[in-house]
């Protein structure tokens, strides 16, 4: 009887084929769940949640702005951790996930900045302000773009993966700064409403659709990540036999 822990389950996770086949089974359900959550959240939040006392109806963009920001931050952690796992355990699947996470995160960051600007005009009177949180989100966008650019700059896939992983890890220091910036500095951006240790400072009627939207965005992120990673797997493993068989089968030959 071996006294060491059995790590084969972990290394099985690193098989691109296993990932492709498993996510192929999950995707339809995940996609359905995403549509359900996003649909419910949007209709509830944009249509039925009560109006805000000071901002009127313009606060409703929170239902897109906050989930997008959450996912932009969480997505960066995911990308950096995937890079770290790839570097430490030399798992190429991990690098593929990191590569897939970069464009999704960049788009979500841009969405967060854009919806923030749209929200800022009626409430703060300006589209843009150089306060701590907005500036550090902009830095996050540039970091995502840098990781993307570095991936494609190398001829060798190996080198590109490792370089992006190192860059993603170096940029991780920015995330706590973004998260805590509204607490450390007096900024125009409001402090955190959703806290882990106490009740949210928002009315439940407004907060519940927000939770639904956040969950919906997480599911959406998972769907997008899986789709991108699957495409990346097919591209990189195109010379292997299981991909060729799959292609032949899909083509109906």
């Amino acid at each position: 009887m071996s006294s060491k822990t059995d790590w084969t389950w972990f290394h099985r996770l690193g098989s691109p084929r296993w990932f492709y086949e498993t996510t192929g089974r999950w995707l339809p359900w995940l996609g359905l769940l995403t549509l359900l959550l996003l649909g419910t959240g949007l209709v509830w939040g944009l249509g039925f949640a009560p109006q805000d006392a000071k901002q009127g109806n313009s606060f409703r963009i929170i239902y897109i702005h906050v989930p997008a920001s959450f996912l932009a931050l969480a997505g960066y952690y995911l990308m950096a951790i995937a890079g770290a796992v790839g570097l430490i355990w030399r798992m190429k699947l991990s690098f593929m996930v990191m590569k897939a996470a970069a464009p999704i995160g960049a788009v979500l960051t841009f969405l967060a900045l854009f919806t923030g600007a749209v929200w800022g005009k009626p409430t703060w009177g300006t589209y843009w302000v150089w306060d701590a949180r907005v500036t550090s989100m902009l830095i996050l966008l540039f970091l995502y773009l840098g990781v993307l650019a570095l991936q494609y700059a190398f001829h060798s896939q190996e080198a590109g993966n490792k370089a992006s992983a190192i860059l993603a890890l170096v940029g991780t220091v920015n995330i706590p700064i973004i998260y805590k910036s509204v607490d450390w500095w007096y900024t125009l951006h409001q402090p955190a409403t959703i806290k882990f240790t106490s009740a949210p400072s928002m009315h439940p009627d407004m907060f519940q659709p927000l939770l639904v939207m956040i969950l919906g965005f997480y599911c959406f992120y998972a769907v997008a990540l899986f789709l991108h990673t699957r495409a990346e797997i097919l591209r990189r493993e195109r010379k292997s036999s299981w991909v060729r068989e799959l292609a032949i089968k899909e083509a109906g030959l």
């Binding site: 080198a159 370089a163 190192i166």
Partner: protein, 227 residues
């Protein structure tokens, strides 16, 4: 030659200083760039002393940043081309020590002259006299951070042919906190607040950079050599 830790550091420090001395003109170009572009703002924006005084901390910091960025490209490029980078990778010392030696030499040749010349630029840009001390202090510490972080970008892009622009794209987001705090030090000094507070943040960044950046640089250089 013993294999002790300091030897790797001092060997590469002396080597890089000697190489920079042999190419003195090239080594002085970041400094000259800094002097030249600092004159662009009065010419392009406004020569009015009051307006210049408002902008001076930021201008000097941005120009110092750009001058450092320009010189960072060549940090590992020459060694990569003639093969001495490979030699550095197979030395018995920990790779972080030669790396730290090279980056220190880079700072001594680029950042330190910038810091020493900055009071003159401050004078030319109508910086209030009370701002000179915080300016020199913030640049001394800040250019150290800039050299270290820039070296990470240089190591990542050393094997690429057109790495210069990509280097800027990678490194400028990481430079942004340094410049925010750096010019905050000078602004605090001018406004009469305690400038040691943002200075402490800058010092913390340097401490973190000295410890972590050499690891990232060493990792990046190893991946370059194996491809």
């Amino acid at each position: 030659m013993s294999r002790s830790l300091p030897n790797g550091f001092t060997a590469y420090l002396k080597r890089d200083l000697l190489l920079a001395y042999r190419r003195r003109g090239e080594a002085a170009s970041p400094l000259i760039f800094f002097l030249l572009v600092s004159t662009l703002i009065p010419l392009g924006v406004s020569p009015d002393p009051a307006r210049l005084a408002e902008l001076a901390p930021g201008i000097i910091w941005v120009m110092a940043l750009l001058a450092t960025l320009l010189s960072t490209e060549g940090l590992f490029a020459a060694d990569h081309q003639d093969g001495s980078l490979e030699q550095m990778l197979i030395t018995p010392q920990l790779l972080v020590m030669p790396v730290l030696g090279k980056v220190t030499a880079h700072w001594l040749v680029t950042g330190l002259p910038l810091t020493l010349v900055s009071p003159v630029i401050g004078l030319v840009l109508s910086l209030p006299a009370v701002g000179i001390a915080p300016l020199v202090a913030s640049l001394a510490v800040g250019t150290g951070c800039l050299s270290l972080v820039g070296a990470v970008g240089a190591a990542l892009t050393v094997s690429l042919r057109r790495g210069g622009l990509l280097l800027s794209l990678l490194v400028i987001p990481l430079y942004m906190p340094v410049i925010i705090f750096g010019s905050a030090v000078v602004q605090a000094g001018i406004d009469g607040f305690n400038w040691l507070t943002p200075m402490a943040a800058l010092g913390a960044m340097l401490g973190l950079a000295v410890v972590l950046c050499p690891l990232a640089i060493a990792g990046a250089l190893r991946l370059v050599s194996s491809n």
